[in-house]
Symmetry: C2
Subunit: 345 residues, 2 copies
Amino acid sequence: MTGMPRENRRFLRACRGLPVDATPVWFMRQAGRYMEEYRALRKKHSILELAKTPALACEVTLQPIRRLPVDAAILFADILLPVETLGLKLRFAPGPSISNPVRTDRDVARLNEATAAADLGCVYDAVRLIRKELGGKVPLIGFAGAPYTVASYMVEGGPSDHYKVVKAMMTDRPDLWHALMLKVRRVTAEYLKRQVQAGAEAVQLFDSWIGALTPEQYRRFVRPHSAWVLAEAAKWGVPVISFGTGTNGFLEDFAAAGGDVVGVDWRIDLDVARRRLGRRPVQGNLDPVLLFSERKALKTAVRDVVARNHGRNGHIFNLGHGILPGTPVENVDFVAKCVHEMTAR
Amino acid sequence: MTGMPRENRRFLRACRGLPVDATPVWFMRQAGRYMEEYRALRKKHSILELAKTPALACEVTLQPIRRLPVDAAILFADILLPVETLGLKLRFAPGPSISNPVRTDRDVARLNEATAAADLGCVYDAVRLIRKELGGKVPLIGFAGAPYTVASYMVEGGPSDHYKVVKAMMTDRPDLWHALMLKVRRVTAEYLKRQVQAGAEAVQLFDSWIGALTPEQYRRFVRPHSAWVLAEAAKWGVPVISFGTGTNGFLEDFAAAGGDVVGVDWRIDLDVARRRLGRRPVQGNLDPVLLFSERKALKTAVRDVVARNHGRNGHIFNLGHGILPGTPVENVDFVAKCVHEMTAR
């Protein structure tokens, strides 16, 4: 890959707020459906097969690394893998669906907490294989769903418009909710720790659905558990990114949970986010829909994000959410190149 | 209705930031599916029949006034009525669907801008009838969709996950987007003005989907048009409420568009919103999902919103978004009573 040092440490340095030769860039869901190579594999394998077969997970993780000048690789997996090893029946139809959601004390009691993380050996094997294949070219990011997002799937049984069942559990059975979150948070931390032990050089916690909550619900029912995972992760010596969407009403509360880097969505100006986050490194926040635009408009939008960083250290360029299916891969490539050119020091 | 003065001016006074005897309360979608009386009418009539038949629109508007101690009535209508008179084919299946969306110069050119507002005489007749039937008991709020939300339906042809078509038009054909918004904004202003002339005592602009945008997209492609409508409305002598969801990343920008009162969603603490909005009256912001909770939790949540207002003038209690189908009507009643009791001066 032209123009990249053999050992690319931009991403890891930016996570620590250190000076970099150019702003690092990677894309949430950079391994996925928008790539022809991925769609070809998906014709032969289900999402869960790809995620649970180390050679396939490795191949999918590396596809964007071969095609795009990104500064980090992210493990291909699904945030719901631990839900399966916890004992729930997960399928994709095509969205995730759990046929035995968690609703009662008995449901919480019988979750396989002790073995759920250990049973994901396929993921750790994939991490080891990817590290070997990457050969130090770019760092590898491991990840997990944040406790709220994972627990909300477990309780609702799938994606939800309003999270009525989750919120009912929080308000009517707070003891049950916290019992569930205690289990989920321990599994989440162990799952991430094992990824790091296998070779992940950074980890990201995805709280994709946290924006469904009021700030008060977040502080009472979620933050203690996210904070616990993030405090555990802080012990492992790798940078930790805490990403959420819909957090702009309570970004300070969200950031207070922890993480070296806070990921923000596209509904806030990057300079406003940086001001509200103080000295914390920040990741984001191009609108993923803009990747469908023509070059000129796309470049203007990239420049807007870059300019709002005002040349400060501690910025990792990314989208405000994952790459959408149908996104032209050449536009993703164009954005990564723009960021490097615009920020070269 | 017990405990309510014959002429209830709490709502109108709060919109102006004036002292009130208790915080006024009304609920977005207070006339709707969660009420048995409404569902009974819906068995016989479509949504569009209800909205376009003055006697039926009046009946639906009054149903919550009979049942709940709310301090304002809101016209029963649909934000997409002007879309029909603009010349688009609208149906509910069950969500709104437009079979001939606006995509080209020709599509924009042939919108019936000159007659779209005048052709909604059924709405103004409903307003007159409702005012007569209300007999001064509570004020009547008229409303319209904000230009972005209406235009986004017109372009996408229905609700959208990512607003890809709208955003593509903004970035690739800004001239076309602005031409469309100029038409929509003029129709919106005339539609609201005619509601006021027919007797609406306040108006609310609903920008329900504005949170899909980046702050920059909002400032460049939307705010000039919202601001124009809000500046027009400021001339009519009635309070104007500007409501949006997903605005918390750029609430100051949203508020800068205008309106006497800013409506906020549930993803921000009310005290934080008030601080960010300066001296502006604010409307909100109980999480609609909490209306499904048991009484104790519900009361705690209501108290939290009320407490965060710190007894200041200029608060209108409402939800952070509309009442959800299936909400127990007795919980809505309970919340209204709690607000009045907690805030009685």
